[in-house]
């Protein structure tokens, strides 16, 4: 899911410390924040926008496209269902440590209603020069500059580092999509790759993955069909094998999930896999020269 400058955004949990801090940053950057929610603070103004009790009220009151959730883990399910029912096009779920069954519940509800979810446990999305949704340092010009590289990342901090390296190499980003580090997430690496493949102004894609799960392998299947070059970094090659994986979980994954499996699947699909984030500039130069 990519955010657009024209998207009307509400911040759920806008009055909290983090909600306030990042709402101000989003507003300063140009994100069109039209309202916020807090169950007990309806009919007040916060960060110069109206606060509603629910996303459904916000939809009736001001209308919105995207909801950004600054909500504690155990309350996210209810808030996400509220936003989905209100008719949100997209949800950015930043919270970490949401019970997995809650996540599966609102992801299923979103799928039924055609709403897109970024996260949980994402740092959000940035479209340089237009807007951002979440808590990415979009306003830092050494990290985000309007350009032609699409970036998808499971990790906020590592994604930020790749953005920095891309800008240092003389490029800029068309869009950054943080999909989140949780085991079950609404937008997969493959989904983000599809979105970036068709996003105007994108000439190459940088994929930032991690060991575990099979999302990079699934994304590799799609990468095979792409005409745009893809450069990937997979974190965790030096990590000890997962400590905790049930037998049944292991069989569902098959032998997918290891660094070697991801690297060979991506390389077989024509993706350039780099050893360290610092190599991203050189890899993009090599792939974009042709």
């Amino acid at each position: 899911m990519i955010v657009h400058g024209a998207d009307r955004v509400i911040v759920m949990g806008i009055t909290g410390k983090q909600g306030t801090f990042w709402t101000e940053h989003m507003q300063a950057y140009g994100t069109k924040i039209v309202g916020g929610t807090h169950p007990q603070k309806a009919r007040t103004l916060h960060c110069n926008v109206p606060v509603f009790a629910t996303a459904r009220d916000a939809m009736k009151g001001v209308g919105f496209d995207v909801a950004v959730l600054f909500i504690p883990p155990l309350m996210v399910k209810e808030a996400a269902l509220d936003a989905i029912e209100a008719g949100a096009r997209g949800l950015v779920v930043l919270t970490e440590h949401i019970p997995v069954q809650d996540v599966m519940y609102f992801v299923a509800a979103a799928r039924e209603r055609g709403a897109h979810i970024l996260g949980p446990n994402t740092a959000g999305a940035v479209t340089p020069g237009e807007c951002f949704a979440g808590f990415m340092p979009a306003f830092n010009e050494r990290i985000f500059r309007k350009g032609s590289i699409g970036i998808v990342s499971r990790s906020g901090s590592l994604g930020t580092l790749l953005c920095l390296n891309v800008v240092q190499a003389g490029y800029g980003e068309s869009a950054f999509v943080g999909i989140g580090g949780d085991p079950i997430i609404g937008t997969t690496t493959r989904d983000a790759l599809v979105a970036l493949d068709t996003f105007p102004g994108t000439e190459a894609v940088v994929m930032v993955g991690e060991i575990g799960g099979s999302m990079e392998e699934e994304a590799a299947e799609y990468a095979k069909t792409m005409s745009k070059p893809v450069v990937a970094f997979i974190a965790g090659g030096a990590s000890p094998p997962g400590k905790k994986m049930g037998h049944a979980g292991a069989i569902v994954m098959g032998n997918k999930g290891s660094y070697a499996s991801k690297r060979s699947a991506l390389e077989a699909a024509g993706v350039t896999v780099i050893d360290t984030p610092s190599d991203v500039g050189a890899a993009l130069h090599a792939r974009l020269r042709h």
């Binding site: 069954q101 079950i184 099979s214 965790g236 030096a238 049930g246 069989i251």
Partner: protein, 378 residues
């Protein structure tokens, strides 16, 4: 969080799934007394790991005296890195047939997955390899749960005979346990049909979602917390994620992805990371205890501090690190790489307070730390 068999089975029993009669014993004498009450028994090591049978941790006993001797041998054994401190002594059952049943969180369907096989008793990997046609899978919409009709379809045509309906009912109850207990995985292997036609859970593996522990406090209290090293336990009390590794280059970074990557880059430059230590998310204010923790590891010869702020503010993290350095005056070389939210303030702080300039990239900082560790070691 893992649950040992003796803690998982009562959770099934409470939901109407039959389990064998039995009791927990921590001494051979206790095991003997339980066996005297139950007749022929099975003595089963209680550790939060699989493959207990292969390790010699599960033994049949025909008499109380035999049960005592088995308990004597099993208690004190090490299985999969865990010391056995107790055994479950259970009545033997006349087994007609062994089945497999499980419900787990499935990444590819983004929902619960029910798995059932008319062959059980061995590892699921083995089942999938030897009898793939008998292993059935059903993705469930978590909003509606497992419907009795769907459970019936899943077990139909596998030659279960008279107990088919009872087996389907166990699946529905197992799904209920999965949903109410916030399971990541709940597995009955084997689920047995006895010669007198009962359906009984002979074993149970249960893993609870760690993110749900806060709303499952009562049940969670019967689970088995992970075995942690001294430093790992200390980290946990500060809300930090720390894992001991065997290298000599200390790693401090923010965010799981960046921390793993710092370890990768240390290895890429020929070094060996000493640890995983992440201070991302809400714990980014914990830089001082984090550094204190690292410095108490005697194996560390040099340290790379790699911050790249998105949510986490690098100036706040750097201030914490500076505080710890000023308080503890460590003698080992420390190399910084600082980028992202708050980096200008962070770089100024390092200059003003420590007279240190961060290196341009994480590769530079990691390489410098690897070289320094090598010099100290030789």
């Amino acid at each position: 969080m893992n649950f040992e068999e003796h803690a998982a089975k009562p959770l099934l029993a409470a939901r109407g799934i039959a389990v064998p009669a039995g009791a927990l014993a921590t001494t051979p004498d206790e095991a003997e007394r339980v066996a005297a009450r139950l007749g022929a028994v099975v003595v089963k090591a209680q550790v939060p790991t699989g493959k207990r049978g292969k390790a010699g941790g599960i033994k049949l006993a025909a008499t109380p005296d035999e049960a005592k001797r088995h308990a004597q041998a099993i208690i004190g054994m090490r299985i999969g890195g865990h010391q056995v401190r107790k055994v479950l002594v259970e009545q033997q059952l006349p087994i007609e047939r062994e089945l497999y049943a499980a419900v787990l969180n499935d990444q590819s369907s983004q929902g619960p997955l029910v798995m059932f096989s008319s062959e059980g008793g061995m590892d699921i990997e083995e089942l999938a390899a030897t009898a793939p046609a008998k292993l059935r899978r059903l993705s469930v919409d978590i909003r509606h749960g497992l419907k009795p009709d769907d459970a019936s379809s899943l077990v139909r045509g596998l030659g279960l005979g008279a107990v088919e309906a009872a087996v389907a009912e166990v699946l529905v109850k197992l799904y209920g346990a999965y949903a109410t207990l916030d399971a990541e995985l709940i597995e009955i292997n084997p689920l047995v049909i006895t010669r007198d036609g009962r359906v009984v859970a002979l074993d149970c593996k249960f893993v609870m979602d760690d993110s749900a522990l806060v709303r499952q406090r009562e049940v969670a209290a019967t689970g088995t917390p992970d075995t942690l090293t001294g430093l790992e336990a200390k980290a946990k009390t500060s809300g930090l994620k720390y894992i001991d590794l065997d290298g000599n280059v200390g790693v401090l970074a923010n965010g799981a992805g960046l921390t793993m990557t710092t370890m990768d880059v240390v290895r890429h430059h020929g070094g060996r990371p000493a640890n995983f230590l992440e201070i991302g998310g809400e714990s980014y204010t914990q830089a001082r205890p984090a550094l204190e923790l690292l410095l108490s590891n005697p194996n560390i010869k040099s340290l790379v501090v790699n911050f790249c702020g998105a949510f986490a503010r690098t100036d706040v993290m750097t201030a914490g690190v500076i505080e710890a350095i000023q308080a503890l005056k460590p003698r080992l070389p420390i190399f910084f790489s600082v980028h992202g939210t708050g980096d200008e303030e962070a770089i100024k702080l390092l200059k003003d307070k420590l007279g240190v300039t961060p290196l341009p990239t994480m590769d530079d900082a990691s390489k410098a730390a690897v070289d320094a560790a090598r010099r100290t070691a030789s």
